[in-house]
């Protein structure tokens, strides 16, 4: 069988996988290692102007007057703009989606008009020859404000005593109730009912590179080139086009190196839209880079939830039902264009996800507040759903006197039960909960850890072991956004071109922010075509050159973009063999491609170097038959459609030690067993898991955006907002089960968000396991020493 002609997961065959499954280093990492990357702030442009924003100091206030006279006179200042001026060039937006029934949000402008609704909302823009001149001048803007009532607390918001947006009648952005029926019955019949309330702190992405955009309007062509640190260049192209009134084909979005994104850089930000509009107004390149302090105030936040959950079980330990009520606050606007209803919606979809109960009720209220906006951030909704599920599952196991691992084994959906429809309505193609559980218990040596825990407790050392099983959304179909009317592509494309020298250039619509996307595309392309890895060059992040596609979000890059590359690679290989057959006057079926050579399929004897084939095809086609035209550039696209999402599963384990005198948690070790289908590059896959786990640990132990009662962010800097640093982090052991998706030839599912989805729950359960001898329990993340000491009744 020739290289890569069958699905990689074809049963009963030995498919040559080439580089797929190998831990090759990333070819594009070399420039980053020498400080020769190209982040937005590294670009140098003639006549570049810099924007700094004057932001609201109040959480809610009417703008009575803005006086720019002093600011405008400062050295280097080119212009100062208010909301109405920018609005003449940039249409406002309303972030709703048709499939989130009833979701509402007010129109939002690039720069606030009349009223600021959170501390940090941009209300004016100063443009100057340098950033420091712009910042200096912004301080000289004189503003008069009328303070308005502030709604900070989400319960208060829900009560509707003070309505933030009068036109919307109440503070409810979105509400949903899902009910299978029979839930109350199940609880009435249950032998055991457990109930708890979990609180999730509002936190944020803290990408090391702040949000960055450099917009370069060409007045002669009425065209706009935008260099932007974004995960979705084509989505942004569409948005710049529609909101700035420039034909789509005249907008080009270029994404070079991006310094971390994690979902932060997939949204439309008012200050970035204002920067693009200002480039149009001023007919010159304009740059905005969010500094750290304004990143805390204006990058999306995420995950402020209060969830009440109940679980019903039999005395034999069979889970009968989940009943869940989630309240989440999203700030004053739903974020464009994905909306801020998705995170809560995911919590409703995913709660109880790994288990085989049939009765489920989930209620959701998404409310407005006068804090910074929240939206989709790495693992959207999963950390909440997994933590509340796994937290209540542990509580049930404790009440039943069952080991948490055994309780899970009893209730996890069987590995042979697929395809499976979960009570929330989501469908699973094929998961492997039991295999991943067995593997986890094996790699973490669960039994001996329990024995060690017991013996250490006798010595007053309090260790805890926490488990967290999970399901995750990956490879989303158009059902995620497209069906709701969002112009966000669920399909992606890859163009492969054989160069005359035998190199293969790959252009793909999925972008790279360090995950290793370009590396895996090189692996897939080289394997599919039959060339060595160093013969590939990858181009991503440019709407002017790549096929159209969605970009990087929802763990879709490998599964969707990778499949497009595979399909294009196979098509190119076939076309190359057509050329080879014409040159060699042989039957195409007798030929194959291997190691940069056309070879005899049976004997593997080299027949012709690709370089020679390229020379003839491009420079001496006169020597080929009259009716033959070589086609050495091919494009293929891929859209997952069979399932709404290609769910993955996994399970994590955490080992911690809690000091009952100080409340400090020491992370001793963490394990993650993940089934993300075909693993293309194990080293990069493990890196995605580890990075994700550490981000999840941040949520569990350190990170929270703290607000005062009047809506002031109290810890909006890196000294006060704690992120995980190397000193406190544990080593993380990763292992894989591979259940390929049969929807694609590649069989890859997503992996980028798994770590973040499960780690908070695993750490929470470990902390509570350590606190169990004291009868103490924590359920409000992050688990700070203060909260732990409070649970221990020591403060």
């Amino acid at each position: 069988m020739g290289k890569a002609e069958l699905p990689l997961h074809a049963p009963g065959t030995q498919v040559d996988r080439g580089y797929i499954g190998q831990s090759v280093p990333r070819p594009n990492a070399a420039r980053l290692l020498q400080g020769r990357g190209a982040f937005i702030d590294d670009l140098r442009f003639p006549r570049l102007a810099h924007v700094a924003f004057f932001r609201s100091p109040y959480a809610h206030a009417r703008i009575k007057k803005l006086d720019f006279s002093k600011a405008a006179k400062q050295k280097g200042v080119l212009a100062v703009f208010d909301g109405p001026t920018v609005a003449e060039y940039c249409k406002p937006w309303v972030a709703v989606l048709a499939h989130l029934k009833g979701i509402k949000s007010p129109p939002q402008h690039a720069i606030a008009i009349d009223r600021a609704c959170w501390q940090g909302e941009a209300v004016a823009a100063v443009v100057a020859e340098s950033r420091s001149q712009a910042e200096d001048a912004a301080q000289l803007i004189e503003a008069e404000w009328e303070e308005l009532p502030v709604v900070v607390d989400m319960e208060e918001s829900l009560s509707g005593k003070t309505v933030i947006h009068k036109d919307l009648q109440d503070n409810i952005c979105f509400t949903r109730e899902h009910d299978t029926g029979g839930v109350d019955d199940a609880f009435a019949k249950a032998d055991v009912v457990v109930e708890d309330t979990f609180h999730f702190g509002r936190h944020t992405g803290v990408c090391l590179e702040g949000r960055a955009i450099l917009a370069d309007y060409n007045a002669a062509e009425h065209s706009l080139t935008v260099y932007q640190a974004t995960q979705a260049p084509h989505m942004m192209q569409d948005i710049f086009s529609r909101h700035l009134g420039i034909p789509e084909a005249s907008v080009r979005v270029i994404t070079k190196d991006v310094g971390g994104s994690f979902g932060i850089k997939v949204h439309v930000y008012p200050d970035e839209m204002a920067t693009a509009a200002i480039s149009v107004i001023m007919r010159r390149p304009v740059k905005f880079v969010a500094d750290r302090l304004e990143s805390f105030l204006s990058d999306i936040h995420a995950r402020e939830h209060r969830v009440k959950v109940r679980l019903a079980a039999t005395k034999q330990g069979e889970i009968l039902a989940f009943d869940m009520d989630d309240l989440t606050a999203i700030g004053p606007y739903s974020v464009y264009p994905r909306t801020s209803g998705i995170e809560g919606n995911q919590v409703v979809n995913l709660t109880g996800g790994p288990y085989k109960h049939q009765k489920y009720r989930g209620r959701l209220n998404v409310v407005f507040t006068n804090k910074n906006v929240t939206c989709q951030y790495r693992a959207v909704g999963h950390p909440i759903a997994v933590a509340l599920t796994e937290g209540i599952v542990d509580l049930a196991a404790q009440k039943l006197g069952m080991d948490p691992a055994e309780f899970r084994r009893k209730n996890l959906i069987a590995d042979d039960a697929y395809p499976y429809t979960f009570p929330s309505g989501i469908k699973f193609e094929k998961l492997s909960h039991h295999k991943t559980l067995d593997k986890l218990l094996d790699v973490m040596k669960y039994k001996s850890l329990r024995e060690e825990q017991k013996s250490l407790r006798a010595k007053k050392v309090y260790r805890g072991i926490g488990l967290a099983a999970m399901i995750e959304v990956t490879n989303p179909s158009p059902a995620f956004y497209g069906v709701g009317g969002a112009r966000i592509s669920a399909q992606d494309g890859a163009t492969l071109r054989l160069e005359p020298t035998g190199m293969v250039t790959v252009m793909c619509s999925v972008t790279e922010q360090g995950q290793g996307t370009e590396a895996i595309f090189a692996q897939i392309a080289a394997s599919a075509v039959g060339v060595s890895l160093e013969k590939t060059r990858i181009i991503t992040g440019d709407t002017g050159t790549t096929p159209y596609g969605g970009g990087t979000w929802a763990s879709r890059g490998a599964g969707i973009g990778g499949e497009a590359v595979l399909q294009a690679g196979r098509a190119l290989r076939s076309n190359i063999l057509d050329v080879a057959a014409a040159i060699l006057k042989m039957d195409k079926q007798e030929l194959d491609l291997s190691g940069n050579q056309v070879v005899n399929r049976l004997t593997q004897e080299p027949k012709m170097a690709l370089e020679e084939l390229g020379r003839i095809a491009y420079f001496r086609p006169d020597t080929l038959p009259m009716d033959f035209q070589s086609e050495l550039t091919v494009t293929r696209h891929y859209t997952p459609r069979q399932y709404g999402f290609t769910f993955t599963n996994g399970i994590q384990g955490s080992l911690v030690e809690v000091d009952p005198d100080t409340g400090f948690v020491r992370l001793l070790k963490h394990w993650c067993v993940e089934d993300s289908g075909t693993v293309i590059n194990p080293m990069l896959a493990d890196e995605q898991l580890r990075g994700g786990v550490v981000q999840g640990i941040g949520a569990a132990l350190y990170e929270e955006c703290l607000y005062s009662p009047d809506g002031q962010l109290l810890n909006g800097n890196m000294a006060d907002y704690l992120v995980p640093m190397s000193g406190e982090m544990p080593d993380i052991v990763c292992a894989h089960v591979e259940t390929p998706t049969l929807q694609s030839q590649l069989g890859a599912k997503g992996i980028g968000e798994a770590g973040t989805a499960g780690a908070p729950a695993a750490v929470m359960n470990a902390v509570n396991d350590a606190l169990a001898p004291f009868g103490a329990r924590v359920t409000a993340m992050p688990f700070t020493p203060q909260r732990i000491l409070k649970a221990l009744k020591k403060v």
């Binding site: 280093p25 990333r26 990492a29 070399a30 420039r31 980053l32 290692l33 020498q34 400080g35 020769r36 990357g37 982040f39 702030d41 590294d42 140098r44 050295k75 420091s132 992405g205 803290v206 990408c207 090391l208 590179e209 190196d257 991006v258 310094g259 971390g260 994104s261 994690f262 500094d291 750290r292 922010q513 360090g514 995950q515 290793g516 080293m683 990069l684 890196e687 580890r690 990075g691 994700g692 786990v693 550490v694 981000q695 800097n717 890196m718 000294a719 992120v723 995980p724 640093m725 190397s726 000193g727 982090m729 080593d731 993380i732 770590g755």
Partner: protein, 155 residues
């Protein structure tokens, strides 16, 4: 006109003279005046370590030192230590172990790691973690970075 001072310093082996505003940070000077964009700006308040450079042999935060304070000093950045091959072993190890994802923290991380390498002593993983605990990486979870440094320091 803002008061400005003349400074002369050696950057990556080359003597440079400029007139700078006293408030200009060293890292802004390196990036904006000299075009050395390898040193990154992550927080501008001394926490993240992305702007770590070497001044007269010691690593410093480029955002906590003023350019005028570097007058007469020998400044080295990731570009210089890449060209001189001083960072070559670390860069190879980082590459092989994928001790970077987005690469934004990487120049600062390498400068901090090289500071440990120059101490020419064996280190435990905990000591390596401690040494880079002032350098924030959001992507990797740090383990591959520790592995990469471990190989160079103890290999």
């Amino acid at each position: 006109m803002e008061h400005a001072l003349d400074i002369t310093l050696t950057v990556n082996g080359v003597e440079v003279g400029r007139r700078v505003a006293p408030r200009t940070h060293l890292v802004d000077f390196l990036r904006d005046e000299l075009g050395l964009t390898g040193s990154h700006i992550g927080c501008e308040h001394g926490v993240c370590g992305a702007c770590t450079v070497r001044v007269d042999g010691d690593i410093v935060r480029g955002c906590l030192m003023l350019a005028v304070q570097a007058d007469g000093c020998k400044v080295e950045t990731v570009e210089g230590l890449s060209d001189s091959k001083e960072l070559a072993r670390l860069q190879k190890s980082f590459h092989e172990k994928n001790a970077l994802q987005c690469g934004f923290c990487t120049p600062g991380m390498l400068m901090a790691a090289q500071d440990l390498v120059r101490q020419k002593r064996k280190c435990t993983r905990e000591e390596i973690r401690e040494h880079i605990s002032g350098n924030y990486c959001r992507c990797t979870g740090y383990q591959a970075i520790v592995d990469a440094i471990d190989e160079v320091v103890n290999g």
